[in-house]
């Protein structure tokens, strides 16, 4: 087999893995959009905030220590303990639930019945606030996140592909874990929404707020619930991305990567988020592989957007979105 093709295959596989990471973030968007019609720009920052909190709790950092030090001139930094990874994850999940509750209380409750675009802009504000809060609470330095996930080259795949093609593919074991986790997450979310009482309520709200209210579903509870789930999804995404490339500001930018995924897959479709993520992940890696060297590289910065844009011009409702019939 020609080398070029082998490399392209390896690139595609890595692209698919990256796509799964995009899907993880996109999933959080879809959940909130379905249940409340809010395009939650803050989803990426939620992931950053979750990862920061996880690292902070795990390493026993004192929250707001910078502010306290600045005000009182103290030298506080750490409680001096480290928590086991699982405990820290559970605590962070709790924090995310609390955050969801606060967001509902302080923001969403006051913006009921506003136009979607106003809500969208409110989430941009929320993103700024949470980004600042994360930095003020835990400090803005780059942190290493380690919850014991396997990392480094997957020997098995290397060996299999070497035997098959005479060239071993480099696949990060972390990416494989991420793929498995994403699959589990989607499966459990589907089970939850199809077979539990709250899942049904969630789907009812997604369909029609007014009708859901009239049969006695508490909109506010559903919103807290769905933001908690989105917070949890953000935590998972934060763990994966944080383990891969450290916890830092750029982590919040994965939200920007998830947006074209949503445009492609449709804002309301969970399978769309997954398939869209895979297409974008693979597409941008392949494009960079073939076209990047010719036009200066770093095409990942825009390729996903331009692809999604071109796609939307021909199919405005996305891959899996419902067809829009306009009425007057």
């Amino acid at each position: 087999m020609p080398d070029q093709l082998l490399y392209a295959m390896e690139v595609s596989l890595n692209g698919l893995m990256a796509g799964i990471m995009y899907s993880l973030v996109a999933l959080g968007f879809v959940l909130i959009f379905k249940a409340s019609g809010i395009f939650n720009y803050a989803q990426g920052v939620l992931a950053l905030f979750a990862a920061l909190t996880l690292v902070g709790l795990q390493q026993g950092q004192i929250p707001f220590s910078h502010v306290i030090n600045a005000i009182f001139g103290t030298e506080l930094h750490s409680f001096g303990w480290t928590l086991p990874a699982l405990v820290a994850i559970a605590l962070t999940a709790l924090v995310m639930v609390g955050l969801a509750w606060l967001i509902e209380r302080l923001v969403l409750k006051h913006l009921v019945n506003q136009e979607p675009i106003i809500l969208f802009m409110a989430t941009i504000g929320l993103a700024y606030f949470l980004e600042g809060l994360g930095d003020v609470m835990w400090g803005a330095d780059i942190k290493k996140l380690d919850v014991g996930l396997p990392q480094g080259i997957s020997e098995t795949i290397d060996a299999i592909t070497f035997n098959a093609f005479g060239y071993g593919f480099f696949i990060d074991r972390l990416d494989i874990v991420a793929a498995v986790v994403a699959a589990l997450l989607v499966a459990s979310l589907t089970l939850f929404s199809q077979y539990t009482k709250y899942g049904r309520a969630l789907r009812a709200v997604a369909d029609d707020h007014q009708a859901a209210l009239s049969v006695g579903i508490s909109l506010r509870f559903i919103w807290v619930l769905v933001w908690s789930i989105a917070g949890f999804v953000a935590l998972v995404a934060g763990i994966m991305w944080g383990s891969k490339s450290g916890v830092q500001f750029s982590l919040s930018l994965i939200a920007l990567k998830a947006l074209p995924v949503l445009m492609l897959g449709g804002f309301t479709s969970i399978p769309g988020a997954i398939v869209g993520g895979l297409i974008i992940g693979m597409g941008e890696k392949l494009f960079e592989f073939f076209a990047g060297p010719l036009i200066g590289g770093a095409t990942e910065n825009w390729f996903a957007y331009v692809l999604a844009l071109l796609f939307l011009v021909f199919r405005p409702q996305g891959l899996f979105g419902e067809r829009i019939i306009e009425r007057v």
Partner: protein, 358 residues
């Protein structure tokens, strides 16, 4: 009491459609003009020009531009930074290719080039609406920044990848370059802002403005009563980009002097201008001024307060600024989705009656 319209009768429709129909408003408008053009240029110094006035003037132009597109025509754009970059690079190429060209012409041409690019990226708005469009404009943002970063022709193959504004004079006074006096920077930008704000006001009070607002409020109904959505949306993109391009050109040539595209015109810039428009007031020219002033002054004040006053580290102050800006956006959207401009209108209503509440 302070605010009287009784006795201020209109006898023609021309009178009735003027910008400041109330005499008191008109007086204040003239007062601002006298202050802006008659007094400030003579007392301007470097600190005030660079920290407050010049960025305010330039951001106000950009905010009016975005307000035309988003506030009047209802098309949310997150590509403002990218379009500012187009203006900046167009201006740079013009300045270096035609050294004899007067600076105002460079700036205007840069605006026109940006208008063209804006129309190009506005084409999808015919098929894509709402968030989808907002996200699609990010394509413009990322693609344009990448383009200016990766294609050396745009930065004249300079080793640093930066663009630097050469000195250009107007009527014998430098308006760009290192030796530009503070008052010249200020006045150059102020004249542009004044002219552009006046044009924007004209556009938004007549036929064109009504077409834009009709598309914003209900695009389907607008089309059925005879508004061509293609030309209307594209005209909004063109005019908006023209303004934003001019803002970009001034930002680079007059304010920064040298710029690196990702840093000066990144996505953060898009959000900053959008916030100005939201906080100031969607669909209000005055709001664009107010929003720009607010977000230019806020960091200056916070920095003076936290770093200068309390001695906190700068990075901490920057993070707190993020929190405050974010919280303010939310608070504004909750309390007053129409922004500072609406607060001002409410205050005027109150003043009309004050001190007699009924």
């Amino acid at each position: 009491m302070f605010y009287r319209e009784a006795g201020d009768f209109k006898t023609s429709y021309v009178d009735d459609s003027q910008t400041f129909p109330i005499r008191f408003d008109r007086m204040r408008y003239y007062a601002v003009l006298v202050l802006g053009f008659g007094i400030l240029p003579f007392v301007m110094n470097d600190y005030w020009a660079n920290a407050v006035f010049v960025p305010f003037l330039i951001y106000a132009i950009a905010a009016i531009g975005l307000n035309i597109l988003t506030g009047y025509c209802g098309q949310v754009s997150l590509g403002t930074g990218g379009f500012m970059a187009v203006g900046a690079y167009a201006c740079y190429k013009l300045m270096t290719a035609f050294p004899w060209m007067p600076m105002p012409v460079n700036v205007l041409l840069a605006g026109l080039v940006t208008a063209g690019v804006g129309v190009l990226f506005g084409l999808p708005s015919l098929r894509i609406k709402g968030f989808y469009l907002a996200v699609a404009t990010l394509a413009a943002q990322f693609f344009l920044v990448w383009l200016f970063n990766k294609v050396p022709w745009f930065y004249n193959y300079s080793a640093s990848g930066q663009i630097t504004a050469p000195e250009r004079t107007l009527l014998g006074v430098a308006v760009t370059g290192a030796s530009t006096p503070a008052w010249a920077k200020y006045l150059f930008c102020a004249v542009f802002l004044f002219a552009l704000a006046w044009l924007a006001r004209n556009l938004t009070r007549g036929t064109v403005g009504r077409k834009w607002m009709a598309i914003r409020d209900m695009d389907i109904a607008a089309e059925i009563i005879g508004v061509n959505p293609l030309t209307t949306k594209l005209s909004a993109f063109a005019v908006s980009s023209f303004y934003i391009g001019i803002a970009g050109a001034l930002f680079f040539a007059v304010y920064l002097g040298a710029a690196e595209v990702g840093e000066a015109f990144g996505i953060q810039k898009s959000f900053l201008i959008l916030f100005m428009v939201i906080i100031g007031g969607l669909g209000s020219i005055f709001g664009s001024f107010a929003g720009a002033a607010f977000l230019v002054l806020l960091p200056v004040l916070l920095k003076n307060l936290l770093v200068g006053g309390l001695g906190w580290p700068t990075d901490l102050a920057a993070h707190i600024e993020l929190m405050i800006v974010g919280a303010l956006i939310i608070v504004f959207l909750i309390l007053e989705p129409h922004g500072l401009a609406q607060l001002w209108r409410v205050a005027k209503e109150k003043l009309r009656l004050w001190p007699f509440p009924h």
